[in-house]
């Protein structure tokens, strides 16, 4: 088995996939902690559907997928966040509306205008990312890596501000922190992460990549910093394991990674329960 693995690892496209995959999952887990704690998990899910819709538009108009998906998702993120904090309109209903709408429009466009003969295959790839990470070109990988590095850098530089607006937005605002600015920053970065993560696991599974490592780390760790670090390590490890087993066993990349995340989540839940009981 190790032999098969090293054989596969000698291919450059596999190496590319590994690098991009690990960076993307690192970003996703960092943002995931904030999204889960801010109760924005649903927004993440909605945004991934918007990204899918935008991707189909790009495919139909034969534009570069990233060039369309990224700005559309960012705009949607800022709007959804605004709707959510407005309170007048029901936030979750608006999110559901936009996400299902985008899904329907995306599929319709792909179905009507596509030139490819394998429509359902294309749709399946975009939704579940079957093998897309393995088919990225060198320029895609470079773009992925640059965006991921920017996300990680932004997260580190604004770490304390993100903590403050996540923990207690009211206090942060009252004492002079520009909460609106940082909420929008979080929205923009979330959109970037979602578009990136779509390449790794596909639109439908993006939220899993974002949410599971955060929830897993929260089972065991008790401080914000340790949860962040824990989520990052868990996410990277799960992606590595998932990606390698997908290559070796020929399973779909996205779902293999997510299943690994789920298994680790249950292991940590049990650890959390046991250590909680041991302390009590």
């Amino acid at each position: 088995m190790i032999q098969t693995l090293s054989h596969y690892l000698s291919f450059t496209f596999v190496q590319y996939a590994l690098i991009a995959g690990l960076l993307i999952s690192l970003c996703a887990s960092l943002l995931g902690v904030t999204l889960v704690l801010k109760r924005y998990s649903m927004i993440g899910d909605g945004l991934s559907h918007v990204a899918f819709g935008a991707m189909s538009v790009a495919a139909v108009c034969s534009l570069a997928p990233m060039a369309v998906t990224l700005p559309v998702t960012i705009i949607a993120a800022v709007i959804l966040l605004g709707v959510n904090s407005n309170g007048k309109i029901k936030g979750d209903a608006a999110i559901a509306m936009i996400s299902v709408g985008a899904l329907a429009i995306g599929y319709l466009l792909m179905n009507v205008f596509t030139v490819s003969t394998n429509i359902s295959g294309d749709v399946c790839t975009t939704l579940f990312g079957s093998t897309s990470i393995l088919t990225l070109t060198k320029s895609d990988i470079v773009l992925c890596c640059v965006l991921a590095a920017v996300v990680i850098l932004v997260y580190i530089l604004f770490y304390h501000k993100i903590f403050a607006v996540t923990f207690d937005e009211g206090f942060a605002g009252a004492t002079g922190t520009n909460t609106k600015l940082y909420n929008n920053l979080i929205a923009v970065v979330t959109a970037v992460v979602i578009v990136l993560a779509m390449n790794l696991v596909g639109a439908l599974l993006v939220s899993a990549l974002i949410i599971f490592p955060a929830l897993t780390a929260m089972r065991v760790f008790k401080s914000f910093f340790s949860v962040i670090i824990g989520a990052a390590v868990i996410s990277v490890a799960c992606t590595l394991i998932g990606l390698l087993s997908a290559i070796v066993f020929g399973t779909p990349v996205g779902s293999t990674i997510v299943v690994t995340d789920i298994v680790v989540f249950f292991i940590f839940s049990v650890i959390g329960k046991i250590s909680g009981r041991a302390r009590a």
Partner: protein, 236 residues
């Protein structure tokens, strides 16, 4: 020069007024206690001062020398999610954020300030504990330490002693007095009449209209204070 000036301020929700005709000013170094029965609009007034809530009419003017970044605040209620992972040190330190400006990380002096404030409130030994696993009074002290970290010119406290035991309550009053004597303006909402009259320099008593505003020496002689002390005393 008054630090904060309120002129004919009306406060309320959805256009319905709760308090009307508020007129008062706070000068640098004052210690203002705001008292009044439940639902009289004290917390609403605090939120209006902090710009978290718009006012119905009138005007609140801040002196130019006072920046929002120099205000420390303890809300009456802080709803923190049940499962939020955050240790005490992280929360107290987050109070220093308004002094950071564009700097991404806390300075050594800010970290020291956070440690000092934890010591002052007797929570140093809880520093690495998870916030959600503390008792109500311990949580209150953590939020107080955070408020102190954020304070540079003005400290706004909404019922700071709620949930604290008598020993901590007394030392907290002494601490606030000391902070005030170091030149920091304090605005405090309190139901503790005795302590308010003892420590404050000014008293604002609100019902649905302002009932009294002035120096505490005048307040002690006014009828309204008697009324409230007696009726307050009965209920305890």
């Amino acid at each position: 020069m008054a630090l904060i000036e309120c002129k004919d301020v009306s406060l309320g929700y959805e256009g319905k007024p709760i308090v009307t005709g508020l007129n008062f000013e706070v000068s640098e170094g004052d210690y203002l206690c705001i008292i009044g029965e439940n639902g009289s609009g004290k917390s609403t007034l605090m939120k209006a001062l902090l710009g978290q809530k718009s006012i119905l009419s009138g005007k609140i003017t801040f002196d130019k020398s006072l920046d929002r970044k120099e205000i420390g605040y303890l809300p009456q209620q802080t709803v923190v999610q049940k499962d939020f992972p955050a240790c005490v040190r992280e929360i107290v330190l987050s109070g220093c954020l308004n002094g950071c400006g564009l700097r991404p990380f806390y300075s050594a002096a800010q970290k020291r300030l956070a440690e000092d404030n934890m010591k002052k409130l007797g929570i140093s030994d809880l520093a690495d504990k998870c916030y959600r696993e503390l008792s109500g009074g311990q949580q209150q002290r953590v939020l107080l330490a955070r408020a102190l970290c954020a304070t540079k010119k003005l400290l706004i406290l909404d019922e700071p002693v709620a949930g604290l035991d008598p020993v901590v309550t007394r030392s907290l009053y002494a601490l606030i007095k000391e902070i005030n004597e170091n030149g920091i303006t304090v605005i405090m909402v309190s139901h503790d009449m005795k302590a308010s009259v003892e420590y404050a320099s000014h008293i604002l008593h609100i019902g649905h209209t302002p009932l009294f505003f002035g120096k505490k020496s005048e307040y002690a002689e006014s009828d309204i204070s008697e009324l409230f002390t007696v009726s307050g005393g009965d209920s305890q």
